[in-house]
């Protein structure tokens, strides 16, 4: 099955300086460890990426030197913690190319970002008979929040189909859109198939019909240059741990006028200006959506991770991963018993595959015994598995620190799997 690979960033230039892979690998201490007496080959980055020393140091520095609650304290630690927390917001704003830092809401995860939009913007704007459009390739986190909203509001969930390559069917999308469509929620990059969706075009088409657009960027953030103003979307969700940051922190971009008009998500401290039993005045955005003491260390760690990615350069990362994906695709396709699932023209570094006669779970166990970490299962995208008539896949998802040598190890591991099952 031939796969044509295009630039993942859409703005790759010819003069991108190559990345120093050995230096990058030294930045991630875990990569020099062993698993089951083999050097670790970590190819499960779509589930969670490893952390560079600078992120680990940022967390340690906060807890060792600056630990305090933010925004309210007048003492030195609180001021430093507040400054670093808000600095991370600015870093996230620039990472997403948002216009203003107030458009960045810190959340626990991309999942929470989507739930936040569903329960605030959605509850306020979606009514009985309205429709919400998602795609067939969504992660469960971009399906279930909308199902909940539909149950609550009496709206109907509709699904944009995908073709055999795992690409969105744009013509069907246009037909599904109507004056009843209130929200279109699609992923930027499919976690199960690697497909990069034309989110700018999707947004433009949706806006023509007056629908708001949320893009799930959880898988895009580690691979692509993201420009929310260029995309034109209303909401964009990312999570920290997939982009080399800590777990338990993510960010929601929301257009300022929308955030200001939306009701709060949760009530509590931080999100208010004044409280009496008769009346509570909510804080300004983004604090209106950050009830309770936030994950301060996590936000600071996320800022460090995004700075790290920028220091390498997203064009350089996209270029490197593009080559690695092409190499891996060709190497895996050289195994006759192996079939790649998800062959979109525009793909990020996610390769799902199945092996004749071998369940992915067994392949994953055997690969693990060789130190190779891949994900096996439905990848929280059961509708995608149903679409391709398979219960599960193996998924290798390289990141900027993976090498051709590690891809060779994966292919050798796949051959060992076949030997066991011969």
């Amino acid at each position: 099955m031939a796969t044509t690979l295009h630039s993942t960033s859409g703005r790759r230039t010819g003069d991108v300086s190559p990345i120093d892979i050995e230096r990058i690998r030294r930045d991630f201490p875990i990569l020099s460890t062993s698993v089951n007496d083999h050097p670790l080959v970590y190819l499960d980055n779509a589930a969670s990426a490893q952390k560079p020393t600078c992120v680990i140091d940022a967390l340690r520095h906060y807890y060792q030197s600056d630990n305090a609650n933010i925004h309210r304290g007048v003492h030195a630690l609180s001021i430093r913690a507040t400054q670093d927390y808000e600095k991370a917001r600015g870093t996230t704003q620039r990472f997403l190319a948002a216009a203003r830092p107030e458009e960045i809401v810190f959340v626990r995860s991309a999942t929470e970002a989507i739930n936040l939009v569903a329960q605030t913007y959605g509850r306020a704007n979606v009514h009985p008979g309205d429709e919400i459009l998602i795609s067939h390739m969504e992660h469960h986190s971009n399906i279930v929040p909308w199902q909940l909203l539909c149950e609550q509001s009496g709206a109907r969930l509709r699904v944009i189909p995908i073709n055999d390559a795992g690409e969105l069917e744009l013509d069907a999308f246009k037909e599904l859109l109507s004056d009843k469509t209130r929200i279109v929620a699609v992923t930027h990059v499919s976690n199960a198939l690697g497909t990069v969706n034309p989110v700018g075009e999707i947004t433009r088409i949706a806006h023509e019909r007056g629908a708001a657009v949320l893009i799930d960027g959880a898988q895009a953030a580690p691979h692509l240059k993201i420009d929310v103003r260029n995309i034109g979307c209303d909401f964009y969700a990312i999570t920290g741990h997939k982009v080399f940051g800590p777990t338990g922190i993510g960010a929601l971009y929301g257009r300022l006028d929308l955030l200001e008009a939306m009701p709060p998500y949760q009530g509590g401290g931080e999100m208010i200006l004044s409280v009496s039993f008769e009346h509570t005045e909510y804080n300004h955005v983004p604090h209106k959506f950050e009830a309770g003491t936030p994950n301060i260390a996590g936000a600071i760690g996320l800022g460090a991770a995004l700075d790290y990615v920028e220091s390498i350069g997203r064009d350089a990362i996209a270029s490197y991963e593009h080559e690695l994906l092409a190499y891996a695709t060709q190497a895996l396709e050289s195994v006759p018993e192996l079939r790649i699932v998800g062959t979109a023209r525009d793909k990020a570094a996610v390769i799902s595959f199945v092996i004749d006669g071998v369940h992915p779970h067994d392949a994953g166990t055997i690969l693990d015994q060789h130190g190779i970490a891949v994900r096996t299962g439905h990848h929280c995208a059961q509708p995608v598995m149903d679409r391709f008539g398979i219960p599960a896949t193996c998924r290798a998802s390289p990141a900027l620190y993976n090498t051709r040598g590690e891809i060779d190890a994966l292919v050798a591991g796949v051959r060992r799997v076949l030997e066991v099952f011969r």
Partner: protein
Amino acid sequence: MSDLGDLYQELLLDHYRRPRNCGALDDADGVADGNNPLCGDVVRVFVKVKGGVVTDVSFEGSSCAISTALASIMTESVKGKSVEQARALFRKFHNVVTQGADPSENGPPLGKLEVFAGVGKFPARVKCATLAWHTLEAALEHKPEPVTTE
């Protein structure tokens, strides 16, 4: 590597490739469904019980080598045994794969089921070796709700 050899023994692979007692029983007394949401494995177990004895048992489903081989060997192992003997066998098996109990000690001999003794070294796979057992228990008890390993 020896751990891997312990897990994927020829007996197990044989039952994966050619599962025994695979297919529906038309006149089953008990039927139950099991699924492992972690990996998408699904299994359905059919039993016939007469006078407290498992006179026939079968399974169908789609799953990994360990799940499939377990279901196949399990059905062979409990056919002709009393319901109580079948339960005792599961208790023993469960202790071996989850607690690392010595298969040669206490309780009924495991026979072919001993091929799964190495599963305990693979914590992520223990559920594959217990799903069909839990489903068999549900079929014996006529539980209408699907069994899940989660």
